[in-house]
Amino acid sequence: MSLLSKMYESWSWIRKEILSQVSGKVAFVLLIALIVVSVYAAILMPPDYAKYWDVGSKWVDNPYNAPPEWASYLGYVCVPQTFYDLRTVKPGVSEVSGRVVFTYNITYDLSARDYPQGLRIRANIVVPQGVRNARIRVDIIKPDGARLPAIIDTYVDLTNTSLIDLNLDKPEGIVTAVMSAYRDLVKFLSVEEISIFPMKYIFGNLSYSETLKKVETTPLPGRYMFVIDFSFRVFNVQPQEILRAVEKSKEFSLLIKGTCYGLMGTDYKGRDLAEGLFYGFPIALAIGLLVALASTAIGVVAGLVSGYYGGFIDELIQRTVDVMGSIPLLPILILIAQSIAKTYTGEDKPIVMLTAIFAVLIAFSWGGLAIIIRSMTLSIKSELYVEAAKAVGASNLRIISKHILPQIVPYIAASLVYSTPNAILTEAGLSVLGIRHGYPTWGNILSEARQNGTISQWWWILPPGFLIAIVSLTFVLLGLALEKVVEPKLRR
């Protein structure tokens, strides 16, 4: 209790000193922001976030390698993500030879001079008894008047499942559809080209290039019409009943994937980088604080023991610090991380690798503080008031906690502050090198960018580093302010 109040006294003094400086004020504001965002993200973070981030199913709707939406201000051509909730659209209802057909006419305005990245139709409908199967057929009428018939025409058995998920990034019927829509170009069209880049042929203007001796496409802005025929083979079911089921369904939608996405864009798997970066806050802070706390704690204990008890243990600690200081840290760290990456095969590999990296980091980073604490302990120990405390019967523990510890609190604080960004920076540095642990940290996003992206995908490669730098800056500024507390000579 008394120790706590002593600590609190020290702390409030430090806080006052820090806030009296500009760098301290900036650092404080940044720190508060950092903590607020981290806590908020930690609360919102999905359980088992690592899996959530890694498993692709959540991200299939997103365009991949897409810059953020605001990139359009930087001169990027952005096709926005367009989503149609077909449940709210009134279809034309007809009955053709035992099938109930709902026809949805969707107009889509493409204004940017670029191709959307893909198409997707998804339905999750519990159909009434008596519906045997469903069929979805999509025609597209282009602004130039060409009609692509049946780019997809597929049957789905709805007796066992209620889910229909059609990924139309490479629709089956596209080749025949294009061939039939552009009869004059047929002999120049390459089947391979069409099936590799279907979106170019759906959303492009086709023309024959004399120089290249092939059909070229250019983006074709304008109004597109999607004609979606959703039909059911029924047995004794009223069309209205099916329509109600469609309207009450969990999902029935058409998605036209854009080329830009969200606040921070996406990576090669279509993952929303804004989300990854947001959830990276608490992880980064936790990593930084964990390593800082551990190395500071070891440094304080080692310094106190070394300075207070002296003798053989002091010599041992001193020499250990000496030797550790001469061993190059980064090469050893890289070696250990890589060795584990190559040899460990367990499920928990990300955690094992991170733990190993941090253990090495902690092992190598307590020495400096230990030396400072040791020399402070030595000088405080020889103070007369410590002898006076001994004379009234104070135990070693009491002398350390009541007389020595309160005086080294600023140094402990400074050490915490200085070493917090250390772990974040090191982890990121290893990731940049390409040593991947797989846990979704900022460094991991960076390492995937280095591996699967190019440097021109700046929205992917720069923000994680920038956030790391901001966190680091917060603590550097805090350290700058603390430096004047710790070293009064620097005070002006």
Binding site: S23, R319, D322, V323, G325, S326, I327, P328, L330, P331, I332, I334, L335, I336, Q338, S339, I340, K342, T343, P421, L425, A428, G429, V432, L433, G434, I455, S456, W458, I461, L462, G465, F466, I468, A469, I470, S472, L473, F475, V476, L477, L480, K489, L490, R492
Partner: protein, 366 residues
């Protein structure tokens, strides 16, 4: 008599330091060997090499015209495997393989690199001597990292004394803010930004840096015309490093000088009305010399190992990239050699410092 006692004292202190530094060297290399062995990393690598060779051997046997019967193939393959296991020493525990390797490293018997990735960084044939590989990569690191660090240091030494009399002025505040900013931004991140801007956006710098090898080789052979070619490649990395490192360096020099400016003997010198230049030279620079020399020497010594991450970002074929290639390809021979050399350089620098302290600071004498 007194001089003799002093010399003996100095020698004792230096001998003590030498012993501990040598111990550090020993521990560093043995630790590296231990990591390689205990994690099973080299075993994994060697096993995959053996498996590959066995597979190739089986392939050759089955596809040969006079194909032996299946039992015969199995026998031959098993025999081949045994041979390979014996050749690589996989029939012995890892300690029996690593310890001789570590000892050989210590006597600078560095051996050959079995890894094509490693020799490729150096631009040499596979299975080259490790010492040749290192000799090829070291100049490239010196031309980039060491040069950049040296330029940074010169800037810091020029700017530091200039601002130490202007503490609290606008320029001083600016430099402190700049230092804080650059302390926070990792070099590799700034390097990525620089690459993006200068190589990809503006196109004024190269996108690939490996070709610098040709120019550096030519320059080392005495072709001064190649200097232009080297500069063409080296300017961006150097500018990057100088931008980032000059912040903390200037701040460091400034802090060391301030500590001394606040000393009473400087105040006394100012009170005596000595000219600013003279105070700086006589009363400030000299006492500040030993911490500054420490930082300079350790900083420069540190560069010889290359900045592993920064070199990797630029794909610069220097010592850092070499080390990383050795680690990723599990080339124990090169890893041990490089760890040995990194630590040796650092340890020698520390020892030189010990000697310099005694020369620079009259109080350190016994």
């Amino acid at each position: 008599m007194f001089v003799w006692v002093c010399l003996v004292g100095v020698a004792t202190v230096l001998a003590r330091r030498a012993v501990f530094l040598a111990l550090a060297l020993l521990i560093a290399v043995f630790l590296t060997g231990f990591i390689l062995g205990a994690t099973g990393y080299i075993d994994t690598i060697i096993n995959s090499i053996i498996n590959e060779e066995v597979r190739a051997y089986r392939q050759a046997l089955t596809s040969s015209p006079q194909k032996p019967p299946a039992e015969e193939i199995e026998k031959l393959v098993a025999q081949r495997r045994q041979e390979l296991i014996a050749y690589w020493g996989m029939d012995k525990p890892w300690q029996a393989r690593i310890i001789p390797m570590v000892i050989n490293t210590f006597i600078l018997n560095l051996g050959r690199s079995p890894s094509p990735e490693v020799t490729n960084v150096a631009g040499l044939q596979p299975n080259s001597l490790v010492s040749d590989v290192i000799a090829a990569c070291l100049p490239r690191t010196i031309f980039m990292i060491t040069l950049a660090e040296a330029i940074t240091i010169l800037i810091a030494l020029a700017v530091g004394p200039f601002i130490v009399y202007r503490i609290g002025s606008f320029i001083d505040r600016f430099i402190v803010a700049y230092a804080a900013l650059m302390n926070a931004f990792p070099i590799w991140w700034v390097a990525l930004v620089m690459l993006l801007v200068f190589s990809y956006d503006l196109g004024v710098a190269p996108k690939q840096f490996r070709p610098v090898v040709t120019y550096i080789n030519a320059l080392l052979l005495g072709d001064l015309n190649a200097l232009i070619g080297v500069l063409n490649y080296v300017w961006l990395p150097i500018v990057t490093i100088v931008i980032v490192l000059s912040g903390p360096w200037i701040y460091g020099v400034r802090a060391m000088l301030i500590r001394i400016v606040k000393e009473d003997f400087v105040t006394a010198a100012i009170a005596r009305g000595l000219p600013e230049k003279q105070i700086l030279r006589r009363y400030i620079i000299r006492p500040a010399a030993s911490p500054i020399v420490t930082n300079v020497l350790l900083g420069l010594a540190g560069t010889l190992g290359g900045y592993i991450i920064t070199e990797s970002v630029f794909d610069w074929p220097g010592m850092g990239t070499l080390y990383y290639a050795a680690v990723t390809s599990g080339d124990a021979q090169t890893i041990l050699a490089l760890t040995y050399i990194f630590t040796l350089v650092y340890v020698i620098a520390r020892f030189i410092l010990e000697v310099l302290y005694i020369i620079l600071d009259p109080r350190v004498r016994l």
